[in-house]
């Protein structure tokens, strides 16, 4: 299958170095301390942050730093496994570690910060259902279990994206926004973006079809100000010189996302400040 046409266009009409459309909104989950929605094309992720608050499980308390916990990520599987399946455990571990690297946990000793995610593969007409899901999030603010999405998906026929690199980076971007909204001190914002290599062309920000093609796929998370990499994942083999190209492309994508996130945050801060008044 041709993923890049001879004219140099991809299946959804983008250029190889073009990102999907970004959209971010802050403050969507009313009951959370911080929340955000991040959209990359059709991948939509809601992130909610609860805390810093008292540790619920006292035995997990850490005396000199905050505990970052995360609900098991909801994957496409409808069956709920008692111990969580490997895929969701892996993705929540990856996201948790990435976020933990940027939070200044030592400033909030003996407390816990909870992260919740919800990813939906949306079309516009599903927007109302999405709102319902937000309400659901607010209800299930306890982090112990993952959200009852599966019930909803069967009833309303929302197709939930299989956990792919796109969701992973969208989650990290949404989490950054939500943490900043919750006023949790961070070293730097973390942004993440993926890039792949198909038809011997490096492609930025793979969409669902390109992702399912099974080609190499590099997910990078960076701290743009510190210029450091916090996350780097690749599931296939690539020659070193090509890998460098692809990773460079992904980093460029991260920087573009960082600029966008900064704009959104600054706008939000200004709004809050002027509305509050003197």
């Amino acid at each position: 299958m041709d993923y890049v046409s001879p004219e140099g266009l991809r299946l959804d009409g983008r250029r190889p170095m073009e990102m999907r459309q970004l959209r971010a909104e802050i403050g969507t989950v009313a009951k959370a301390n911080g929340s955000a929605v991040f959209e990359m094309g059709n991948t939509k992720v809601i992130a909610a942050v609860y805390g810093p608050r008292e540790v619920q499980n006292r035995s997990q308390q850490i005396n000199d730093q905050a505990l970052v916990i995360m609900a098991n990520f909801s994957t496409g599987d409808r069956m709920r496994k008692p111990k969580g399946d490997r895929r969701s455990t892996e993705i929540s571990l990856v996201i948790r570690q990435t976020m933990e690297a940027c939070i200044l946990t030592h400033l909030m000793p003996r407390s816990q910060i909870g992260l919740c995610f919800n990813s939906i593969f949306t079309k516009k007409k599903h927007y109302t259902i999405f709102k319902e899901l937000i309400d659901l999030c607010a209800l299930s603010c306890l982090l112990a279990s993952s959200f009852p999405i599966s019930v909803y998906s069967r009833k309303r026929n929302i197709s939930i994206l299989n956990v792919s690199a796109g969701t992973r980076s969208a989650c990290i971007n949404a989490a950054t926004l939500a943490l900043a909204d919750a006023g949790i001190p961070m070293r730097d914002i973390v942004t993440s973006c993926s890039a792949g290599y198909l038809n011997s062309t490096p492609l930025l920000d793979l969409n669902y079809i390109e992702d399912s093609a099974g080609g190499p796929d590099v997910t990078v998370g960076i701290l743009p100000k510190l210029d450091k990499v916090t996350l780097l994942q690749m599931d296939a083999k690539l020659p070193v010189d090509i890998f460098e190209n692809v990773m460079g492309l992904a980093i460029e994508g991260c920087k573009a996302i960082a600029n966008y996130i900064r704009e959104v945050l600054l706008e939000n801060t200004k709004q809050l400040e002027y509305r509050r008044g003197l």
Partner: protein, 321 residues
């Protein structure tokens, strides 16, 4: 931008937008761009010495913000005041909290801080108003004073060396709050002022603006300041409050409570700071336009409040000049 999740009609949307733009233009004159986001460099004069405060960190010699907020400079200190964070207690703040646990000689209170606050039995006056040592019997009767899920008003006493927070309730104005509503708003919306207890005499309602963003609207109770009297006939009086608790709150009172509570809710969704004057103004507005209590949370009233606030702030600005 933080969107309002309200169904707005076309005209309402335009009116709201206009009001918000007016607010923006008013505040822009007051303070120039002092807003920063995470990892923004804060401009400082390196020749003068400066102290880095909360919300800042040092990165290769630059001063960098770690939270989103507004840069504040006081003499040499440079810090970032975070908006929309959880409550950062200061000694002497009046807070409203909810009891989550009754344990040995102490209650644990949820006050929107990163840890639960502790109210020791020894740092509170007994409800009968007698100054005496707390005995083992008092410890057993702790649940008679506050139970789990009770709403309590107290003052921040101090920080322990390990960072946990102690409260005190050494006055008759502190203590259990009953017959009212607890509202939770963002702590940055409640400003520190001389007066956090308000008695709205025309409604017969107590309004307590906890600095942690917990706002209490409840029926007015007379502060029992007369400790001497209490001591004299404490045995007889101990029965009286029990009977009082049984009596119903009249319907009108409950409506007043709801009206004020809804006014606070509207102000907090719009992100306006909630001080007593503004809350009262909103209540007055709601009664002058004769809006039903349950319609106060609708979009029309939100727009009205936003317009009125824009008006008020522009008037205030003119008066200053």
């Amino acid at each position: 931008m933080r969107g309002l999740q309200l169904p707005l009609s076309q005209t309402q949307r335009i009116r709201l937008q206009r009001a918000l733009e007016k607010l923006q233009s008013l505040s822009c004159k007051a303070n120039s761009d002092a807003s920063v986001t995470v990892a923004d460099t804060i401009p400082v004069n390196y020749e003068d010495a400066f102290l880095k405060g909360h919300g800042t960190t040092d990165l290769n010699g630059d001063l960098v913000a770690t939270v989103c907020g507004v840069v504040e400079r006081i003499n040499k200190l440079v810090y970032v005041r975070a908006l929309r964070a959880r409550y950062k207690p200061e000694v002497g703040d009046i807070v409203v909290g909810r009891v989550v646990e009754v344990s040995q000689k102490r209650w644990r209170l949820e006050i929107n801080f990163s840890l639960d606050a502790i109210l020791m039995l020894s740092s509170m006056n007994m409800p009968d108003g007698i100054q005496r040592r707390h005995t083992a019997l008092d410890e057993l009767n702790m649940r008679g004073i506050f139970e789990e899920n009770d709403v309590v008003c107290a003052e921040v006493r101090n920080f322990q060396h390990d960072g946990s927070l102690q409260l005190q309730a050494r006055s008759q104005k502190y203590g259990k709050l009953e017959k009212g509503q607890l509202l939770i708003v963002d702590p940055y919306l409640v400003k520190k002022s001389k007066q956090h207890f308000h008695h709205l005499a025309q409604f017969g309602i107590d309004l307590i603006l906890g600095r942690n963003g917990f706002i209490w609207v409840g029926e007015h109770v007379e502060a029992r300041d007369s400790m001497v009297v209490d001591q004299a006939n404490s045995s007889e009086q101990s029965m009286v409050p029990e009977e009082k608790n049984q009596t119903h709150t009249p319907l009108e009172m409950r409506q007043n409570i709801c009206r004020i509570a809804n006014a606070v809710r509207v102000l907090s969704t719009l992100g306006f700071s909630s001080d007593a004057d503004l809350i009262l103004g909103t209540v007055e507005l709601s009664s002058t336009v004769k809006i039903d209590i349950h319609d106060m949370l609708g979009s029309e009233f939100h727009v009205l409040v936003a317009e009125r606030e824009a008006e008020r702030r522009s008037l205030m600005g003119k008066r200053k000049r």
